[in-house]
């Protein structure tokens, strides 16, 4: 198997921050954070059909938690208001100047009913991803990290949380996490070194609050429809609204 691209990427990522690190990074002053960017991600066109997943045939223990109900893959979830769920939104460029304090605690990735909760999430660089199992069956969490170090750990029922510290940015694209034992289980984790990221929910909207005034490149990412970005300049106490529409126009 060809590991070279991963290696190359890894090297680059080791080097780039080192170079970037030369410019001075000021500690973040909350008083500056007055601007807000809100918006929503629309979905147009025929939504792809997601086949229901039959867990019972492979592992009854998984199905029990869902009753007779069959889940569908969360790859493409279109909300009733025509917006797209599970889109990762983040400030790609514009906040390099500051070093932001790390929030308390870890990012949680829960395995419940042979299903990853949440499907897409963002976390801060330097935080740890806590992979928890709430299932009566064994899991094997496999992180296909391209930038951070890939991980592949078995987690029998009742095992303690597996802690994986994310030492590097990995948001474009976010890393994929799969369960080897239950192939239908997959989730995505984006690692960013600032607090300005969000994931669209049931209403397909997002909000990036407490931004300092400035010019930003906002990127949205979806596991199937890939990335789009818009640039926005925003002033003190201002609030702007952005619109993204998937799939991308050819």
């Amino acid at each position: 198997m060809d590991k070279r691209p991963i290696l190359v990427a890894a090297c680059l990522v080791v080097l780039l921050p080192a170079m970037g690190g030369s410019e001075d990074v000021k500690p973040w002053d909350p008083a500056l954070g007055t601007a807000t960017i809100t918006g929503s991600v629309k979905f147009e066109g025929k939504k792809p059909r997601m086949r229901p997943i039959d867990m019972a045939g492979a592992d009854e223990k998984c199905a029990e938690l869902h009753g007779g109900k069959r889940l569908k893959p969360e790859t493409v979830v279109v909300n009733d208001n025509g917006t797209l769920r599970n889109v990762f939104v983040w400030v790609k460029k514009g906040v390099e100047g500051w070093s932001f304090p790390l929030p308390e605690g870890n990012a949680l990735l829960n395995q419940k009913g042979c299903w990853y909760l949440p499907h897409v999430q963002g976390m801060r660089k330097g935080q740890s991803l806590a992979v928890r199992t709430s299932d009566p069956t064994a899991h094997n969490v496999h992180g296909y990290a391209k930038v951070n170090r890939p991980f592949n750990r078995s987690q029998p029922p009742g095992a303690a949380d597996i802690m994986i510290q994310m030492r590097r940015d990995e948001a474009g694209p976010p890393m994929k996490v799969k369960c080897d034992i239950h192939p239908w289980m997959n989730a995505f984790v984006a690692v960013v070194d600032h607090p300005y990221f969000a994931v669209t929910g049931p209403d397909g909207s997002f909000e990036l609050a407490n931004l300092p005034p400035g010019t930003y490149t906002i990127e949205v990412w979806h596991e199937k429809y890939d990335v789009m970005e818009q640039t926005v300049t925003i002033a003190d106490n201002e609030s702007q609204t952005l619109e993204f529409t998937y799939p991308k126009k050819k």
């Binding site: 792809p48 059909r49 997601m50 086949r51 229901p52 997943i53 039959d54 867990m55 019972a56 045939g57 492979a58 592992d59 069959r70 893959p73 790859t75 493409v76 064994a138 094997n140 592949n152 078995s154 799969k178 080897d180 034992i181 239950h182 192939p183 239908w184 997959n186």
Partner: protein
């Protein structure tokens, strides 16, 4: 659905061609037992009668070569008999079953992946949608072409259901590594080799709920690579198909 009984010898057999295998296995093992007991008796007898003791001396050449050639010849003959009389016919039989196309078979496409089985049935229209390696993705484990309407009503499940009595052709494919499709109660094992589709034939003679397993080391989750194997009456099978069809939610569009 009768609860299967498992013991220290062969598990229950629900395959029509399984009896042949069982007979062969039992015959061979009786043959082995007889041979082994014979040897043991001979050894023990020698050890007692020819043990070293005062006044007893070894004989330089106790037996002429003529004697006991029969033993080797006997063993040889027995093996040839087992080979020609039993093994070859049985193998030929099974192979022929595989080669001939049985009447009105149920065709199931199996996709093996690390570390679960996926069973792919044609839907109401009775034909499989277009599939290909390039279509595989997390939300499309069967590799169905999303633009192909034939595949829309196909059924993809993680457990194998077959009707009793009806011939079933299983078309085995692998996504990644070599797996082995093993159903002990059907006396069936077949390696699943990536890059080639191997078809095997089976016919159940009894209903019940059993397991499909993987018999070829395929990685970390090898031991967990199991699936339900349900043999139902044709009626129940049809009922199951309808349920699965309902799950697709095509009708409410």
């Amino acid at each position: 659905m009768n609860e299967p009984q498992y013991g220290w010898w062969l598990p229950p057999n629900v395959s029509v061609s399984g009896d042949e295998v069982d007979n062969l296995l039992n015959i061979i093992h009786w043959f082995m037992l007889v041979l082994f007991v014979g040897w043991s008796i001979f050894i023990v007898y020698c050890l007692v009668r020819f043990r070293q003791r005062p006044g007893h001396v070894a004989i330089y050449e106790p037996i002429k070569a003529a004697f006991s050639k029969w033993l080797e010849v006997g063993v040889g003959v027995a093996e040839v008999v087992v080979l020609i009389a039993l093994a070859m016919p049985a193998w030929a039989a099974i192979k022929n079953i595989n080669s001939q196309t049985p009447t009105d078979p149920l065709i199931v496409r199996v996709v093996a992946e690390q570390f679960k089985w996926l069973f792919h049935y044609p839907g109401r229209d009775g034909e499989f949608g277009r599939t290909g390696a390039e279509f595989f993705s997390d939300d499309n484990p069967a590799g169905l072409d999303p633009d192909d309407d034939v595949g829309v009503d196909d059924i993809t499940v993680r457990g194998l259901h077959i009707p009793v009595g009806r011939p079933v052709i299983v078309r085995l494919n692998s996504k990644d590594v070599i797996h082995s499709f093993k159903i002990p109660v059907m006396r069936l094992t077949q390696d699943v080799v990536p890059g080639m589709e191997i078809a095997v034939w089976m016919q159940a003679k009894d209903t019940g709920k059993f397991q499909v397993g993987c018999a070829q080391l395929c990685g970390i989750g090898h031991y967990e690579m199991k699936a339900d194997f349900v043999i139902e009456s044709p009626k129940d099978f049809q009922k199951w198909l309808d349920e699965e069809h309902a799950y697709l939610g095509l009708d409410d569009e």
